[in-house]
């Protein structure tokens, strides 16, 4: 036991000796940030769980912090909960909204706690995709009229003897069950339930040359890894998807937009103007998303890189 005690004392002494040479806390800390931050204050930014959104959030947060001196609080939330946060004052802005007409109706029209803040400039595409090898081997598969011809290829243990059409995360709009029925396709919609499952399915399909037909969307970081090929459904015309049960046309092109809380819009915060003016392209978003997803940069570093290369665009958002 004595030994133990000695050991303890020795360690303490050793710690004291080595430790006292170290840097003290607060010594290299600069003085407080100064009055710069007060003007903007706290900016509560919802971050929905997909990489494209994260790219938007990273750049807006970076600019708001560096150029406007805001204290940006990023909150990792699912879409529905972010919108709920508009009402309770915990969320100021949502930066990439995919349609969500139901939420718009509830929070913008009925509860009047949120307001639209314009387009992000990014165009969203939803549709049915096949892995590249299939498009190469069966060039006519990209026309929906030929899908029945290939139905047997897509049979799996889950699809009950028909071809399988794999659907994804239920957060996104889907008319696939109605489409299969109304286009008289010999397919069964199988719900994979998550984006993870879809991406993994595509990876395996391409690697092992397995047939796969699945619901997917652009922009998506995964296209950097694999250029999926879209199957053309009957062309979308305005109103052709009015009755969800009778839909027989492709998904409409989505204009991804921004939504902010009413309180934030009325606050006069410079962060609001930034959110309102924030607009870029699919390529811009993809560049940042690629940095995050493929090059494994942190969102902040990815944003810094992009902002440095695109200063003119950023100055445009800031009204400079």
């Amino acid at each position: 036991m004595k030994k133990l005690r000695y050991a303890g004392v020795l360690t303490a002494v050793a710690l004291a000796l080595t430790g006292c040479g170290g840097e003290k806390i607060g010594s290299q800390q600069p003085a407080a940030d100064g009055g710069n931050g007060k003007e903007c204050g706290t900016f509560n930014l919802a971050v929905n769980p997909w990489v494209g959104y994260e790219a938007n959030a990273a750049v807006v947060a970076y600019v708001a912090t560096k150029d406007l001196g805001c204290e940006v609080v990023k909150k990792n939330l699912k879409e529905e909960i972010s919108w709920q946060g508009f009402g309770t004052g915990e969320v100021d802005a949502v930066l990439e909204n995919w349609g969500h007409e139901d939420l718009k109706k509830k929070y913008i029209e009925e509860q009047k706690v949120a307001v639209a803040a314009g387009s992000t400039g990014v165009k969203g595409v939803i549709g049915w995709y096949v892995p590249p090898w299939m498009a190469q081997q069966y060039p006519d598969i990209t026309d929906w009229r030929n899908l029945n011809k290939y139905a047997a290829l897509f049979k799996t243990s889950e699809s009950g003897g028909k071809g399988q059409l794999l659907d994804g995360d239920p957060s996104y709009v889907t008319n696939d069950e109605a489409l299969v029925k109304n286009l008289k396709l010999n397919y069964e919609v199988v719900q994979s339930g998550s984006e993870t499952a879809l991406i993994q399915a595509f990876r395996i399909a391409e690697k092992d040359k397995k047939p796969l037909l699945a619901y997917f969307y652009e922009p998506q970081w995964f296209f950097n890894e694999l250029k999926l090929v879209k199957v053309n459904l009957p062309k979308y015309t305005a109103g052709c998807d009015a009755d969800p049960a009778k839909v027989a046309c492709d998904y409409p092109p989505y204009d991804l937009d921004k939504v902010v809380s009413k309180k934030f819009a009325d606050s006069g915060s410079p962060a609001y103007d930034l959110v309102k003016n924030f607009q870029w392209t699919n390529e811009d978003q993809n560049a940042v998303a690629r940095s995050i997803a493929v090059d494994k940069l942190t969102p902040d570093v990815a944003a810094e890189k992009w902002v440095k290369e695109n200063r003119a665009k950023v100055d445009g958002w800031l009204g400079k």
């Binding site: 710690l15 170290g22 699912k78 709920q84 946060g85 239920p170 889907t174 339930g193």
Partner: protein
């Protein structure tokens, strides 16, 4: 008298019961071929019923801005923020938390030593050092703060409730129902409303965790108290103990080891909620895992998951050691050592408040990225090597077992399935089985998701059978052999606390998007709890009993089947119940990898506001399935269990 007559009945009926069940099943299959496709109550994945729409419309009716909720929120928020300031986040105008890493390691190791022993103290220091080296110190501390808060609050509620349920039969019955509800109602059903009541923040995350984590502690406490031999209680009573004396001097001390299993299970359950809580902005490791999974980065996700597992193992071993430590006053020597240790800890804390190197975990050595790369390579290798074979297994099981079972359940008219279920329950458990079966079946129809319920039921049955079989084998093995127990336990802990998606991504590669994948996930998650409870039950069988059996020359198999399993049958019943419930609590995760049906409905309700009502109904359907299966098996078990005892007497 009653005993004598039932004896006779039982003896006559015993062979018949199996025959009746067989006839029922054969008749069902026969009728199925005639009536299949009629009244199957199918509902498309985007379709809803009036009930669902009504529920959707009334989602927000409950308690926003309620005084009680606000008070709870403030208290819990403050508590969690206090812990975070202490351990994790820069606080009180300083760029670092109140206690830096060196202080945390010292305090934790000291506490582990003081309440447990020096072995767990060493483990604690090593474990915390490891998560630091993984480059996840702050994340781990955030998770630890949230977990400590949730577990302490859980125990505050759970232990008294457990004691009450242990003492009163009526409380036990009510508690069982409520606990079933808490454990099987998917978190996704109440996660969004919860953030409405308790706002987005630590309180909502803590309470979501608490709802899921408290039940095991209540159950095992009640189970422990009820398992104290009646003789001991009677002895205490006859010596003139009052009720409270009996409780504190006899019941609680005798049930301590099982109560500790309950506390451990609560810790495990709390840590298994880490990723779900991250969906409502809970800080910590859950967020690391979710972010990595957005890009399917299994390596980084595994690194985060591993930190959760390490925390779980440390917490588990320390509480177990504390539970095993005999209560006695410390010797003089120990007291001196404790005081010296305390002084050392204070020095370490002081260091961690003064110097940067002791406050922020050094980043010079980082094994996290190496772990991530190795894991990625390993999973790729496994996928490449076993890829083709695993698809074959999946197809065989799906076509051979799952599809026929599902076809029978989903293809029969609902009233036929309900009749068969009630009849089976009546044969197996008489009215005790039949009544809940009837009520649950009718309520299932009322939820409007009957068809999806039957799909989920088929997968659940298959998964539960496997879980119970594997859990029994592993549990008996670990219960009889200490070394096995020590080696198997970290694996079990990993199965319970590793966020499912970390191993589901490789599973998806091996088995594709399918119900089979979902079943595999449920098995990985539910086997540990079953195994642990069985092992605990086997260990609790008095050594004298086993030795007596050995001395009369019984074979190992005889000792297990005639002595250990029958004596531990209460624990086994509980293990089956928990196995089933854990399988059901994975239904939603299953929905995310292709199980479809109820799991998908619940998740869709969480993510699409129009489908909220349907998600809630599907969540309730999962609870109903749980109650139905649990009550029928319990009733059946109650009747079967009479045989060995009476048989012995004869």
């Amino acid at each position: 008298m009653a005993a004598i007559t039932s004896d006779v009945e039982v003896e006559v009926r015993r062979p018949r019961r199996g025959v009746v069940v067989g006839i029922l099943l054969v008749a069902w299959v026969a009728v199925y071929f005639v009536l299949r496709g009629i009244d199957t109550l199918t509902l498309g994945s985007q379709e809803t019923t009036t009930l669902h729409r009504w529920l959707t419309d009334h989602r927000d009716d409950l308690g926003q801005g309620n005084v009680v909720f606000d008070a709870i929120r403030m208290t819990v928020d403050q508590f969690v923020v206090l812990l975070q300031n202490l351990l994790a986040q820069p606080a009180y105008g300083r760029p670092v938390p109140v206690i830096g890493w060196l202080g945390v390691v010292a305090v934790a190791a000291y506490l582990a030593w003081a309440f447990g022993n020096w072995k767990v103290a060493l483990l604690t220091a090593a474990g915390l050092g490891f998560v630091g080296l993984q480059g996840l110190w702050r994340e781990s501390m955030d998770t630890l703060a949230l977990t400590i808060a949730a577990v302490l609050l859980s125990l505050l509620v759970a232990i008294p409730l457990g004691i009450w349920a242990g003492l009163s039969n009526r409380a036990f019955r009510v508690a069982t129902l409520v606990l079933d509800l808490m454990q099987t109602l998917p978190t996704f059903v109440y996660l969004a409303p919860l953030t409405l009541f308790f706002a987005i923040g630590p309180a909502a995350a803590t309470i979501a965790t608490l709802v899921y984590a408290a039940p095991p502690a209540v159950r095992l406490t009640a189970h422990a108290i009820r398992s104290v031999p009646a003789e001991s209680v009677e002895a205490a009573r006859s010596l003139g103990s009052t009720r409270s004396q009996t409780l504190t001097k006899v019941l609680l001390p005798m049930s301590r080891s099982t109560v500790v299993v309950g506390i451990n299970q609560t810790i495990m359950a709390a840590l298994s909620m880490v990723t779900v809580a991250a969906l409502i902005n809970a800080p910590g490791l859950g967020d690391t895992v979710l972010k990595a999974l957005e890009t399917l980065d299994v390596g980084v996700a595994f690194n985060g998951g591993l930190a959760i597992v390490v925390l779980a193992i440390v917490l588990d071993r320390v509480t177990t050691a504390a539970g095993d430590r005999p209560w006695r006053t410390a010797s003089r020597r120990r007291r001196i050592l404790l005081a010296a240790g305390a002084a050392g800890v204070l020095v370490a804390v002081w260091f961690s408040r003064t110097y940067v190197w002791a406050a922020e975990f050094p980043t010079s050595v980082n094994i996290g990225s190496r772990i991530a790369v190795t894991t990625s390579n390993l999973t790729n290798w496994v996928q490449d090597v076993f890829g083709g074979f695993t698809y074959g297994v999946r197809d065989a099981v799906t076509k051979g077992v799952l599809n026929p079972l599902e076809a029978l359940l989903t293809g029969s008219p609902w009233w036929l399935v309900a009749t068969v279920v009630v009849a089976l329950a009546a044969v197996l458990g008489r009215w005790r089985g039949a009544l809940p079966a009837a009520v649950c079946s009718l309520l299932l129809v009322a939820t409007g998701v009957w068809h999806d319920s039957m799909v989920t039921l088929a997968s659940t049955l298959l998964a539960t059978v496997v879980v119970v079989a594997v859990g029994l084998v592993l549990g008996v093995w670990a219960g009889r052999n200490r070394r096995v127990d020590t080696w198997i336990r970290p694996v079990l802990d990993a199965g319970q606390t590793m966020p499912p998606f970390v191993y589901l991504v490789p599973f998806l590669a091996l088995f594709g998007t399918s119900r089979f994948t979902a079943i595999a996930a449920a098995i990985v998650f539910a086997v540990p709890v079953t195994t642990k409870i069985v092992a605990d039950g086997i260990k609790a069988v008095p050594v004298a009993t086993v030795e007596a059996a050995n001395s009369v020359g019984s074979s190992n198999w005889q000792v297990i089947s005639k002595v250990q399993l029958p004596v531990a049958r209460r624990a086994i019943t509980l293990a089956v119940n928990q196995g089933l419930i854990y399988v059901l609590s994975m239904v939603v995760v299953g929905g995310l990898v292709g199980a479809q049906a109820l799991g998908y409905d619940v998740y869709a309700g969480f993510t699409q506001s129009e489908l909220y009502g349907k998600g809630l109904a599907a969540g309730l359907a999962i609870v109903l399935l749980g109650v139905l299966l649990d009550r029928v098996t319990q009733a059946a078990a109650r009747r079967t269990q009479r045989f060995p005892r009476r048989g012995d007497k004869l």
